[in-house]
Symmetry: C2
Subunit: 148 residues, 2 copies
DNA sequence: TAAGATTATGTCGTGTGCGATGTAAATGTA
DNA sequence: TACATTTACATCGCACACGACATAATCTTA
C-alpha cells in the first residue's frame, strides 16, 4: 500500500467500526424507545438482569464505561424507578445498584430485541459462521485494546 | 440458544462492537492530541484530504454523520484555522468546506497514525486475512444498516 | 408568475463519553 | 496510633451524537 493510500477512508479499519457501531445503536433507538430506554441504559439493565446488586465499579468493568459516564445514567434510571442506588453499609464509598420491579419486568419485553437486530444483519449472505468469526475478532480486539 | 440466554451480554453482537469502537477511538486520543484533533475531526480531515471543497452534505454522507453534528465540529476546525466554511455562490443554502494550509500540512503528520493502531491490533494471532474478513463483514453490515 | 413543496444548514434539547479533578472513606505503613 | 496513600464515586468541562424543529433558499407545478 502506497504511503498516500494509508489515509484513505476506505483503507481505515476503525472508521467502518465507528460507523457500524453508531448505525446499530441508532437502529436500537425506536425499539428501546418503547421500553423508555437508551442503548447504554439497556446495557446497564442487561448487566443487572445477569447479576443484580452490583457496585458502580462492577458495572464500569462489565460495560467498559467510566464511572462518570455511569453516574448520571444510573441517576436517570433511578428517576425512571427502574433501579435503586444505595450506599453500601460495609464501605460507604461504594454504591450498590439494585433492580426495582419495573426494571425487572422490562426483561420480558426486552427478550425479542436482539433477534430483531440480528435478523436485519443476517438478511442476505451473512452466514452464522461469518457472524461468529466477526464476534470472535471483536472480542480479540477488545482484549488487546484493554492492554494498550 | 435458550430464551433467557438471548439477553446475556456475552451473546450480544452489538455490545462488543460498541465497546471496540469506543476503545479504538480512545486509543486514537493521545495520538491525535499531538495534532490538536479529536477522532471525528480527524475523520473530517481524512475526507477533505481525499477531496477538498466538499459541501456539508457531502461530508455528512461520506462520514455517516448528521449535519447538526457536523456544524459545530466544522466550526471548531475553522476556529483552529484548519478549514474554511464558505457559502456557495450558486446555491446560498450550501456551505463549502475548504482546507487551509494548516489543515493540509497536518496530512504529513497524520500518515503514521493508522499503522500505529494496526500494529496494536495485529500483535498476536490476528492475521491479515482475519482483519480483511472482519472489515468486509463490517462494510456488509453498514450496507444493511443503511437500508434498515 | 405565484404558490406550494422540497432542500441545506443551523438551532435546540437531551443523553452520552471521557480527561481532569475533588471529596470522603478506606487501607497501608511506620 | 497517626499519618500517608489509595480508592470509589461524583463533579466539572468539553466534545460529540441524533431527533425534532426552524429558517431561508431553491425547485416544482399549475
Amino acid at each position: 500500500m502506497k504511503q498516500d493510500d494509508l489515509l484513505l477512508l476506505e483503507n481505515q479499519l476503525c472508521f467502518p467500526l465507528y460507523v457500524a457501531s453508531r448505525l446499530i445503536t441508532k437502529m436500537y433507538g425506536p425499539l428501546l424507545k418503547e421500553l423508555d430506554l437508551t442503548y447504554p441504559q439497556y446495557l446497564v439493565l442487561l448487566a443487572l438482569w445477569e447479576k443484580d446488586k452490583q457496585r458502580v465499579s462492577d458495572l464500569s468493568q462489565r460495560l467498559f464505561l467510566e464511572s462518570n459516564t455511569l453516574t448520571p445514567l444510573l441517576k436517570r434510571l433511578e428517576q425512571k424507578e427502574m433501579i435503586i442506588r444505595e450506599r453500601s453499609v460495609s464501605d460507604e464509598r461504594t454504591v450498590i445498584i439494585r433492580l426495582r420491579k419495573r426494571g425487572e419486568n422490562l426483561k420480558e419485553k426486552a427478550v425479542c430485541i436482539p433477534n430483531r437486530i440480528i435478523d436485519t444483519l443476517s438478511e442476505d449472505t451473512t452466514t452464522e459462521n461469518e457472524i461468529r468469526a466477526f464476534k470472535a475478532t471483536l472480542e480479540n480486539m477488545i482484549g488487546k485494546l484493554q492492554m494498550a
